[in-house]
Every structure is written in structure tokens, then in C-alpha cells.
Amino acid sequence: MTAAAELPLVDIDELRRVIEDYFERGWTDGLPVMPVTESILAEFLSQTARDPDEVLLAMPHLNRACTVRLAAINAAMAGCRPEYFPVVLAAWTALKAENYVTRGIWQSTTGTAPMLLVNGPVREQIGLNSKGNVFGSGFRANATIGRAIRLTALNAFGLRPGELDQATQGNPAKYTACIAENEEDSPWPAFHVEHGFRAEDSTVTALTMRSVAHIEARHTTVPEQLAIDLAGTISRTGALIHETISACIALGPEHAHLLARAGWSKDDLRRFVFEHAVNMREALAAAGKDAVSGKTRWRLSSGHAEAVPDSTPDADVVRALGCEEAVQIVVAGAHNAGVSAVIETFGPRGGPPAIAAVERLSAR
């Protein structure tokens, strides 16, 4: 604790009145937000060469768009420091490239959240956590960068629950979801390097996701056993809305090293998981998901009026993933236990992930 004489002098009643006013205007996610002034906004805008009126992401079906200025206001309200703002901007670029947000996914009953993955030197520069409790609380940069996206969704796009956001349940990541890769404890090239960026670049990857499923595998040193746990989690029938799904495996460093010691690369794991993330046809039938709709291609029972066969009607063993590229792999968390996670990303996917470079001002 600091001695009273060293504390800043403010009128707490006035500060409280401002914060309460933001609540009354509905400009929050339910937690207090930071008040923003023109001078604070200017500090954020000075972190980028981009025009404040530039549109970052438009939702034409809502007649609404997020500009650089709106993104900055909401980043400041979320509690970001100004130097986080280039990461927030890159997040918007990545979300646009991912192309789910622009098609209304934030309004869907599914209740997805935008998980952000940060790579490169910016992690250390702004104090992004990539290690212990990586999905959890306690780190300002992670907490506020993720929250900046949510506040913008609420305030700039008006996607409030029960109004334009129809999520049946949503998920906890709708408050904030921003992780960094633990590149230092990874036995493999960093995620952004794997996808063509330089190690000295900083990037943000957009992963529109539905849930983070926990993997306990402290018992094994056999790579195939661990990979079977991962594949089994990915293929669970409850996740199957479309014919196939996608996932980002967030390996704890201990698991990553277990695989690397056995000579496995990321591609080896990806291939194994693709081959083994399967359901028996009768298991799909038992869950009423052994066919797809001829209209939506969503899974349903072969007895349904809209049912048509899925892509492999003669196979007794049915893949949950459409291609190897539907699986992404990162290393995150502390190097202290055999724990990993499967981030269940939205959509069947395939092809390269949506990665955007973080802008670096030449003056810095």
C-alpha cells in the first residue's frame, strides 16, 4: 500500500458520477469503463498513421461501421494504454480478413466470441501474458485488448444482448479473449513465422470461437496417446453444427515438448489429429447427426425430411475435420503440467488463418 500523501488527488464523487453516467448510457459490458476525453483519444490516435475516419470494418446489413476513431474510443474505455492501440487495430484487420464478423456471426444464437492470438516482440513490449493462466485474468494488456473489441461491438455496432445480439448463451470469452503465444517455451517456430511472417514482426490472429475445451493428459509420455486425447476432444458430436468443424490446439509447453522430443513437428501433429478426429457412423446416428441438410449443410438425422447424405456416405468412420488446415496449433501457458486446450473455432475452415501485422511507427 502507498502512503496517503503519495496518492493522486481526485474528487472521488465526481469520478464515480462519470462512471455511473457511462453505465446509464449503456456504454459498458457490465463492468466499469474508463472515461475518455478528447486529449486521451488524441493519445491513442497518435499511435497510428491511419486516418481517424478510416473504416476498419463495416456491417452493411446494420448500416454501421467501425472507424479508427471509434476503435480508439472503445480501446480507451476498455482500459487499454495508448501503446496497445496498434494491436487493437491489427485485431480489427484480422477479424475483417477472417470474414465471419462481417457476415453477422456476432448476432448469431451460436454465441461466438473473437479470440485474439498475438505473436512477436509486441508481446513483451506491452506485457501480454503467454504463460501461466494464459486464458485467465490478471494481465492488463490481455484483459483490455480483448475487451476493446467487445466494447466496440456493443457501442459502435449496437450488438447488445437481447437486441441485435441473439446469442442463446454466449460464452465467457465475450467479456475479453486475448492470448499470446509462448514462443519462448515452444520447441517449434512461432505461429506467425510458420505462416510466412518474420520473427521480428508482431501479428494478431483472429479466431472466432465457441468454447475452450480443457485437456488433461499428465499421465503419458507417448505422443500418440496425447494426440488421441486432442483428436477425441475435437471430434465430440456436440460441436458438430456443420458437416465438419475446425479447431486451434493450444498446447501447454510440456505437451509441445513431449511431442517434439518424440520427433513430431506441428505438421505431424496436424496430420495425426486430422486422421484421428473421427466419429463412427453409428455414433453420429445415435446423436441424430449422420446426414446433412440439403439446404444448410448442417448435420441432422438421416430420417429428417431435409436430409441428404454427407460427403462420405459409404464410410463407417466419418471425419470431423474437412482438411488438415482446419487445425491450427499454438503453444500457450506455463511449462508446469500436462495440460492443453482445444479452442473450438467457428466454421469448417481450411486455408491460411487470418493474421494481420501490427503497425510500427517509424518514429518509435
Partner: protein, 68 residues
């Protein structure tokens, strides 16, 4: 969207989606937009139950189409 293109259309939504449907109509500048509402849910119904629902709303659909 269809009506903007000159095609008469009626939106049908279940009662669970009335609030977001009205919010979308407001956002698009048509706060007076009329919907036909039916009881939720739809996705899990069989063909016969769907037909019953359709019979219940067909008069409303015709009313909105011919009124516009």
C-alpha cells in the same frame, strides 16, 4: 431486401426473435415493418407440425402481402 428489389415479401419469425427482428427493422430505417410471428421453436419440428404452423399463419401472410 427482396422488397427493395421490387419483390413482395413477408418476414416470418418465431416469437423468440421478435426483439432482434424489430431492432433490425429499426436499424434499416423501417420501424413500421410488419412480421408474421409464430411460436418457437421451428428447427426441431416434424413435417406435420410445420404444416400446422403454416396453416395458422397463412391468413396473416396474405394480409401483409396484399396490404403492402
Amino acid at each position: 431486401m427482396l422488397e427493395r428489389a421490387g419483390v413482395p415479401a413477408v418476414s416470418i419469425c418465431t416469437d423468440a426473435f421478435v426483439i432482434p427482428a424489430k431492432a433490425m427493422a429499426d436499424v434499416l430505417g423501417h420501424p413500421e415493418f410488419q412480421f408474421v410471428t409464430i411460436p418457437h421453436p421451428i428447427a426441431s419440428l416434424g413435417e406435420a407440425e410445420i404444416e400446422t404452423r403454416v396453416r395458422e399463419i397463412v391468413d396473416d401472410v396474405v394480409r401483409i402481402l396484399t396490404h403492402a
